[in-house]
Symmetry: C2
């Protein structure tokens, strides 16, 4: 930004207030928002009242919750990503053929964002839908996306990730994660075994565009009771690579 005077502080504050709401904090008071954002209580209050006035938040006299109207804010981004529309039929077909859930995601900072999904039976307790996020370092799709970056860039992202273990199997040492990325780079795919959630294993491959650049990741996830980690490549790598090859001609 050329000039500091091109920046609108009030808008920035309001967006930070919206981001203060999440699954764990769905219903917040003025004091809650002031604490979560670090803004003055009166500032937080004006932001919340503005959101309420515009229909983005409901207010019961003390607590605020976001309303479905805020979904309009995000739809512009999903809509502007042609990738999701293009890959959906491929995911549906792949999911039908292999009998497992499949997804496509992209990297956004230290997280992956789901763009498209074809779901079979639920194997994860958290519902994953376009827009959902998971940490990149401990997901198969995240690992192939990080592996596609220059090594220093990947390391910087790992260093700023929240490496808090999510299961007892979570890999949390940066050096070991970098090793897994190197392996993913060499193998052309990544497998995770109950690192992001107990009971879930998944395998992912990168998706390339016609120029050979990695633009997304494709995975399938299976219940741990259903397949050993060591079997995932034998079972699913070939169909995933077939979709990878098919999409390479289509994506730009």
């Amino acid at each position: 930004m050329a000039n500091k005077s091109d920046f609108i502080g009030s808008l920035a504050k309001g967006l930070k207030v919206i981001e203060a709401f999440n699954a764990e904090h769905a219903r917040l008071s003025i004091a809650d928002v002031a604490e979560a954002t670090g803004f003055d209580r009166a500032t937080s209050r004006r932001c919340l009242l503005t959101l309420h006035e515009l229909g983005y938040a409901a207010y019961d006299g003390k607590f605020f919750t976001l309303t479905p109207r805020v979904l309009r804010l995000g739809m512009g981004a999903l809509a502007s990503l042609p990738l999701a529309q293009v890959v959906q039929p491929w995911l549906d077909q792949l999911s039908d053929r292999i009998g497992q859930s499949t997804s496509v995601s992209i990297l956004d900072g230290t997280e992956i964002v789901y763009l498209a999904r074809a779901a079979q039976r639920r194997v994860m307790s958290i519902g994953l839908m376009p827009g959902s996020r998971l940490p990149a370092h401990c997901t198969s799709m995240g690992r192939v996306l990080l592996a596609a970056l220059p090594e220093e860039e990947a390391r910087a992202l790992i260093d700023t990730s929240d490496l808090t273990p999510r299961t007892v199997q979570s890999v949390t040492e940066p050096e070991r994660i970098m090793e897994r990325l190197a392996a993913a780079r060499t193998d052309g795919y990544a497998v995770i075994d109950q690192e992001v959630e107990v009971g879930l294993r998944s395998i992912a491959v990168p998706l390339y565009n016609a120029h050979g650049h990695v633009v997304a990741a494709l995975n399938t996830g299976v219940a741990a009771v259903q397949s050993e980690a060591s079997d995932l490549a034998a079972l699913y790598l070939e169909p995933l690579k077939r979709v990878q090859d098919g999409l390479r001609r289509v994506l730009r």
Copy 2:
């Protein structure tokens, strides 16, 4: 809002700029945004540059597109709706049993917003995901949700709806739509036959909470080549009502 001075105009402007992006207008210039929002060009420019600075928009030197980060703005709303989490397993089961896609949505103004979905084979060309919207007046779920409102309230929403026909079968006269709502009220369900999209028929029922209030709608959609509209009730009403009954005890 008690005081006009509790309203933050700059925040309101910025949110309107974000909403200017949609599927048809995914990539906008400063002039485009000024035109779409009615704001001064310099104001539009500052909003866009602020969104870019915060990571919500990408900028190529002339055009802006929203980035996946704006999805964080909407996720707080979905997360704060326990309804989506509660109904998902019921949708998955129902979808498996009847072999068709099923969805749950709520009313937001003149539109329905999808909260949850269990998809089988794609019958619609537009991908519907949580957060997607369709006009209420010409969808089966929209009709049962409008039918649950006091009649004057429903009429006011019909009067402010965009009644542009989407297919040759679209019902667009307010009186005829009100008749369809009355029928839905009497029957306890609604069927639409290719009004929202050629090739799609669907049937929906309202979802009640333990207090008997309508809180959402549940539907299944089928390809027109697969079932006649007159057969939908015979084929699917019973399983839909079974889920309706089951959820009545669970929803609050």
